[in-house]
Amino acid sequence: MLEPDTIEPGLPTGPKGAADETRVPTLSKVAAGETRLPALRRIALSPSLALALTIGIFVLYGLTQTSEFASGAVWINIVRDASFTAIIASFEAIVIIGGGIDLSVGSIFAAGAMVSAALASQGLSPFIAFAAGTMTGAGVGLVNGLIVNYFSIPAIIVTLGTMFGVSSLVVHFSQGQPIAPLPNSFAYIGQNDLFGVPYIIYVAVVIAVIAYLLLHATTLGWNVRALGANREAARSSGIRVRALSISLYVYCGAAAAFAGGLEAARLGAGSPDFGTGLELTVIAAAIIGGTSIYGGLGTIPGAALGSLLLSVLATGLILLNIDPTLQDLATGVVLILAAGLDQVRRRQMFRTSARRAHAAENG
């Protein structure tokens, strides 16, 4: 930072380097130590670790208050509730990391549930019912993506619009009536266990792993982070930013609709008021999990842990006999703390830049 002396022409360091060395010797030593431990520093600042610790501390405290925190059945419920949020939050996180946001997931959740339920109740196979519901969500996602990318309307407005629109269509076509009962073949996946663990949880784990691989292991995932952090630079580098951005809304819509189908299967009924307010829970889970609302940064394990934390809080506060009306207060506090952590992380990243650059020059 002091001198941009970084392209080394292979000449011996001149007196300038030596002067730097004597001017701030302690600083450069600190920096040299830091460059050796970037992994540790990153883990210490990772939101996933902070989340895991928060959940752990809350549960430990809960255990000292009531033995119900040790009950397997309670935990199965907590994790099953978290599963629905996590399925959607994984892909919502990818949309946000890619520089967008999707507020329509709650409405898409209801649409997916109703389409799946309607087809299942007509006697179609569960596979077709789920596929059609999921495709409906993908279709809404495609509409979101196309409008956001071709009409340059901010994603928050477009998806707010489709949130209202889709919700209205769901009520219109269902006449506001739930669809029930649903055949057992369809409800099976939502109501049965394997080794004492609901299928829903396995399904959520598989979907989260798919999202994880997509974001963390594929070339698409790296392009998504570039897109969200600096769309112009991503485009200049030859990334097809429009197609990429559109695809993210499609994945997110599909995930939300599929989760809606699962909910219909779990309850044995589809209802047009499914998913009310779900978009906010999902976005909160993603942000609590360390997804930066500014785009570019975030992880899937974080989004999954964020979903788990919200679910643990929801059940835990009831177990602790705390007035349930205060539950959203806890969610709000955690959300703001998480966003604050994101700010600290960004600032930390750029503060160390000066020291690092210096270390590189002298080291």
């Binding site: 941009p4 970084t6 292991a217 594929t218 570039a226 952090a229 570019g296 830049s353």
Partner: protein
């Protein structure tokens, strides 16, 4: 070697231009950034584009890099007409660019930045991070760009290091045409000279380098030909070896009229 050649290649028929703009016009709203611009660049030479602020240098580079399409006029790459372009198409047509704003992603590590938009793959869809780390480190070392680690986030680097990464990325792509928009803006004297050596090496390997820079001394030392723009128009083209600094400055500032105007009068 073609560098320092006295021949003005626009008149030589020995090789065809790899990059050619004729009658290029480009406007942004009410501002006309390029007016009837003509440019020809040949393999194995460095063509410097000079001009004051607002002369249209960056716009011209962005047209060549595929960021902007011309409103009117022709862009030819290797003699082939390009109707509609994009950064992706420009890259596929063999053009690498060091953008003025560097086009890097601060939240990604150096290796991811080096392979931005063209990651190495494992299988069809997976990113081969390990190979990108190794190859990024090799490319940077080969060019003498010193960074703490290719795993360091770009946002942690100094301006000079970032510039080094952006240049190394363009060089690594090994394309026949390299555009550099103010590649030495964040660099000190030593590093600027080093970039000059990199440019010489590129032209020695037969590549065409198009260089935009404010640094007149640097341009006069490391380019083969000069193209001077003023207020979106071409003021004139010179062979660097035969150009003298006063005349070039006069052309940039408009103290002397354009070559075309002189020819008319």
């Amino acid at each position: 070697m073609l560098a320092n050649s006295e021949i003005d290649k626009e008149e030589s028929s020995s090789s065809l231009p790899v990059l050619e703009v004729s009658n290029g016009w480009k406007s942004f709203g009410h501002v006309t950034a390029l007016r009837d611009v003509k440019l020809q660049a040949y393999p194995g030479e460095t063509l410097a584009i000079l001009g004051d602020n607002g002369a249209g240098k960056s716009t011209l580079v962005k047209v060549l890099a595929g960021v902007h399409n011309l409103d009117a006029g022709e862009l030819r790459i290797n003699g082939k007409m390009v109707d509609r372009t994009s950064p992706l198409l420009a890259k596929r047509n063999g053009i690498s660019t060091v953008f003025q704003d560097l086009a890097v992603i601060e939240t990604l590590d150096i290796a991811a930045n080096m392979f931005l938009g063209q990651q190495l793959r494992r299988g069809r869809i997976f990113a081969n991070r390990r190979r990108m780390f190794t190859e990024a480190a090799e490319s940077l070392a080969a060019l003498g760009v010193r960074v703490p680690s290719v795993r360091a986030q770009l946002g942690e680097l100094s301006g000079g290091q970032r510039q080094g990464v952006a240049i190394a990325r363009a060089v690594r792509e090994d394309n026949p045409i390299v555009l550099m928009d103010e590649p030495t803006a964040a660099l000190g004297v030593r590093e600027t000279a080093h970039v000059g050596q990199i440019i010489r090496e590129l032209t020695r390997r037969g590549k065409c380098v198009i260089l935009v820079s404010h640094d007149l001394e640097f341009v006069l030392e490391f380019s083969d030909r000069l193209l001077v723009l003023r207020l979106g128009r071409v003021q004139g083209a010179r062979s660097t070896a035969s150009a003298n600094q006063q005349e070039v400055v006069a052309m940039i500032t408009g103290l002397v009229g354009s070559d075309e105007a002189k020819a008319r009068s």
